[in-house]
């Protein structure tokens, strides 16, 4: 069978040797790697633009996926300086990974631009809004800083439930209901009273050093807990523990699952009530953990009438607060994205289900619709 580039080699066979000819031939033979990822992305006409919530709502070339890489290239080539003004568009990214599905190179723009974000930190170009988050993470191990929790939960059991910063520092009642649902399912769940952040907000903001410190601590705490299984409410946490930690050499013995993944595997789980609902697939669940149908399948398994949004599965649309950076640098843009998503969901049902603390927060801060976390819903239905 002919090879991919045989046609070009045939054509080039008749061409006299000229400048750069040998470079092309070496590339075709796989001897040179070709341009770097950021340049390739910058040279694309934005074939993922339609999937990028920022690009759709903000409508700016500067913050479009390829536009960010072009800005990265301009900074890298010293066309413009590395400063807050030029680092800003690079950070206007929800880290949702919605671009990756459409990229012929399977790039995620947030990953491609990670070196630029890290360079910003190294060179002391740190946004005030990020510094506050970094300080909280360093001093308290939590995004919000010091928090007061009203309830305590068992600190021993088989299943470690990691609650995540957002529920602990904000919507604490969801934790109680999720623990209640676990009890109804017959699980012996417990929590870590000294649970800290998984580190992903620091990772997204380019502070890889801080991420590594937090990751080392949490990996040890999870390993030391003796849990047979770990369940998280936050898909970003599950993504960090399962996908990012191993990239930094932190391999934990225990299996980590997001609650939807856990429920997806569970058989004989029927709800007691009927209702029509719609759902929002969190981006880290579908694009990070690659669970495209989990939300829909779990809701159907519970016996609900499920209205599927046009933008679901790996074509989901971020809640607007993903990635921890946009909502800190441009609250208005985050809100507009949330509102757009809520408009779509509320046209399908007045009961919106999600499975991410950040998504729930984004929707509740930007609309009047009733939004339930899957843990809360489970508690009500079982």
């Amino acid at each position: 069978m002919p090879g991919k580039w045989d046609w070009l080699k045939d054509e080039m066979g008749g061409v006299s040797k000229i400048t750069k000819f040998s470079t092309v031939m070496k590339f075709l033979k796989g001897r040179v790697s070709g341009p770097d990822d950021m340049t390739k992305c910058a040279m694309c006409p934005n074939m993922c633009r339609h999937a990028c919530p920022i690009s759709i709502v903000d409508g700016k070339e500067t913050t479009s996926p390829a536009g960010k890489s072009r800005v990265g290239m301009m900074v890298e080539h010293d066309v413009i300086p590395m400063d807050e003004e030029n680092l800003y568009p690079i950070h206007i990214c929800l880290s949702c990974g919605c671009c990756e599905k459409w990229c012929p190179f399977d790039f995620s723009v947030s990953e491609i631009l990670k070196p630029e974000k890290e360079r910003g930190i190294d060179e002391g170009v740190v946004f005030e809004q990020f510094q506050e988050m970094f300080d909280n993470l360093e001093n308290y191990g939590l995004v919000q800083g010091g928090i007061k929790e009203e309830r305590s939960y068992p600190d021993e059991g088989n299943i470690l439930y990691l609650r995540g910063c957002e529920f602990r520092g904000g919507d604490e009642k969801v934790i109680g209901k999720t623990m209640g649902a676990f009890e109804k399912l017959g699980l012996d769940a417990f929590v870590l009273s000294d649970e800290e952040c998984c580190g992903i907000p620091a990772y997204n903001a380019g502070n890889t050093q801080l991420f590594k410190e937090l990751a080392r601590k949490m990996a040890k705490k999870i390993d030391d807990s003796g849990a047979e299984k770990v369940i998280t409410s936050c898909p970003s946490c599950a993504y960090a523990y399962r996908k990012l930690y191993p990239e930094f050499g932190l391999n934990m013995d225990v299996e980590v699952l997001h609650i939807v993944e856990f429920l997806d595997r569970k058989k004989n789980m029927k709800g007691k009530k009927k209702a029509t609902v719609t759902f929002h697939d969190p981006c880290k669940l579908v694009n990070g953990l690659e669970n495209n149908k989990g939300m829909e399948d779990v809701l159907e398994k519970l016996g609900l009438d499920v209205k599927v949004p046009r933008r679901s599965g790996d074509e989901t649309f971020c809640c607007g607060y993903g990635g921890s950076t946009v909502c800190r640098l441009n609250e208005g843009l985050s809100s507009r994205i949330s509102e757009e998503r809520l408009d779509e969901l509320s046209s399908l049902s007045d009961k919106i289900i999600t499975s991410c603390p950040t998504c729930k927060k984004a929707f509740e801060e930007n609309g009047d619709e009733k939004v339930y976390d899957i843990g809360e819903l489970l508690y009500e239905l079982l």
Partner: protein, 475 residues
């Protein structure tokens, strides 16, 4: 830091005053004069402007970028820019390949992507959409509701409705659904000196010359489109996929001509010359070395069955089944090669032209033979991608590396010049669907003759101060 290669255009005398007025009317958050934004709007997908970017050259930066959110904002922008003689460059998805949005004289770029609402009028088979609406968003939403517009260009993902109208674009399924000119039923425009006009979406109207056609393909030189009404179709109930391997390009072209003559209209027909067949279908042993044709027939069950029968009767070639069509469907949005090769110094571009059947093969040969001997050219090839009872669109691709003592731009223009001359000498038209922009403007006079003077007169009347995309299309 002031980069040496960023060229600031002469600032229009009243720029600050104009920006101040617009800012006061529409809000300062919709305007930017930050360098990073100006540089981001200094190019589109014209290979020349990409080449500038790779070399860290920015010779055409605007003075401001504006993101209007509604028609009223656009009226204010046009009104104040016209008063202050500030050039305006309407901007959609930036996927145009001929430099139509490059702000070569400075001024303001008006990006319409925040104007993106849509409304489906199912009973009338119309969709109403703002000009900044994303193409994929539109088609996906239509599909969700059981319709299609049938306009699926390769730039579907990044491009906008306004860009489609502005460049008189068309998509891969055009042989059935037509080009954007067949779909556009009504249009709302803002024209100098800040006036709004609306041509309503009647089923048909006999009310003088059709001004919709005047704005179609005007590439921002006559005004800014704010909204359009487009023809839609119920989603097809049946889809069939056919492919053939023919011994010669002549066999395949003649077969499709006869199919079209019989009245069949497959939505997709693509004939690849031998080089492109090898390039796209290297996985298929039986096709390699031949001329591949892929087809998609879709629509009403009975009609599509009849079309399939006509195709099978008329086609000279071996049937290859559905797999090559599936391969095309899976890879049709892949634009990987440009991103891989252009940064390595390879000059790469496509040139789409149209010609009537009687001159088709002659034009194909003449263009390939005009490009290939140019020193540095690695290959020149073509596929035919859009068909009419009267003729055909050939889509040429060339790549090369500039020979010594010749820079990339010079080499690129040498190839273009050879191709355009061959097209005109062979009786073809210089553009089928990419438009004119800044790359093709030098051939407009030769293409249109006296009609070009008429076009210039219309421009003069509508935009006396020449603020709308000045220089584009040579206007």
């Amino acid at each position: 830091m002031t980069p040496k290669k960023v060229v600031n255009k002469k600032t229009p005398r009243k720029l600050d005053e104009v920006i101040g007025k617009i800012s006061g009317k529409i809000g300062e958050d919709k305007i930017s004069t930050q360098k990073v934004d100006l540089l981001s709007y200094s190019h589109d997908y014209w290979p020349i402007s990409l080449h500038w970017m790779l070399e860290d050259r920015y010779p055409s930066i605007p003075h401001a970028v504006i993101w209007p959110e509604n028609k009223e904002d656009v009226i204010e922008v046009v009104k104040w820019c016209y008063k202050g003689n500030v050039p305006i460059y309407p901007y959609g998805g930036g996927s145009g390949v001929l430099g139509a949005t490059v702000p070569e004289k400075g001024g303001v770029v008006v990006d319409l992507k925040r104007m993106r609402s849509m409304k489906i009028h199912g009973k009338d088979l119309l969709v109403e959409a703002n000009s900044g609406l994303n193409g994929y968003y539109l088609e996906d939403e239509l599909n969700e509701k059981g319709y299609t517009m049938g306009n699926i260009p390769q730039s579907l993902y990044p491009s906008t409705i306004g860009g489609w109208v502005g460049t008189k674009a068309l998509g891969q399924f055009s042989t059935k659904y037509g080009g954007i000119e067949d779909m556009l039923k009504g249009i709302e425009m803002v024209i100098p000196p800040g006036k709004e006009l609306c041509l309503k979406p009647h089923a048909r109207t006999s009310t003088g010359p059709d001004l919709r056609k005047l704005f179609l393909g005007s590439e921002g030189t006559l005004g800014i489109m704010t909204k359009g009404w487009f023809k839609i179709w119920p989603e097809p109930e049946n889809r069939m996929k056919l492919s053939f391997a023919s011994d010669t390009l002549e066999d395949a072209v003649k077969s499709v001509r006869k199919v079209m003559r019989e009245g069949a209209e497959p939505a997709v027909i693509r004939i690849y010359d031998k080089i492109e067949t090898k390039r796209h279908f290297y996985d298929y042993d039986e096709i390699f070395g031949k001329v591949a044709t892929v087809m998609v027939i879709e629509g009403n069950e009975k009609i599509t069955q009849a079309e399939k029968k006509i195709v099978k009767e008329e086609f000279v070639g071996t049937e290859m089944g559905e797999k090559p069509v599936d391969h095309w469907l899976e890879t049709r949005f892949n634009v990987k090669e440009a991103a891989e090769f252009v940064p390595m110094g390879v000059v790469f571009d496509t040139i789409e032209v149209a010609v009537n059947w009687s001159k088709a093969i002659n034009l194909y040969k003449n263009v390939v033979n005009a490009i290939k001997p140019i020193k540095g050219v690695l290959f020149a090839s073509a596929h035919a991608s859009h068909f009419y009872p009267q003729g055909i669109c050939f889509y040429f691709t060339f790549a090369g590396t500039p020979p010594r003592k010749k820079d990339a731009e010079e080499f690129y223009q040498q190839v273009w010049k050879a191709a355009m001359s061959a097209v005109l000498d062979s009786g073809g038209t210089i553009s089928h669907h990419h438009g004119i922009g800044r790359q093709r403007r030098d051939w407009m006079e030769q293409e249109l003759g006296e009609a070009y003077s008429t076009l210039k007169s219309i421009k003069e009347k509508l935009d006396k101060k020449r603020i709308m995309n000045p220089g584009n299309m040579g206007l």
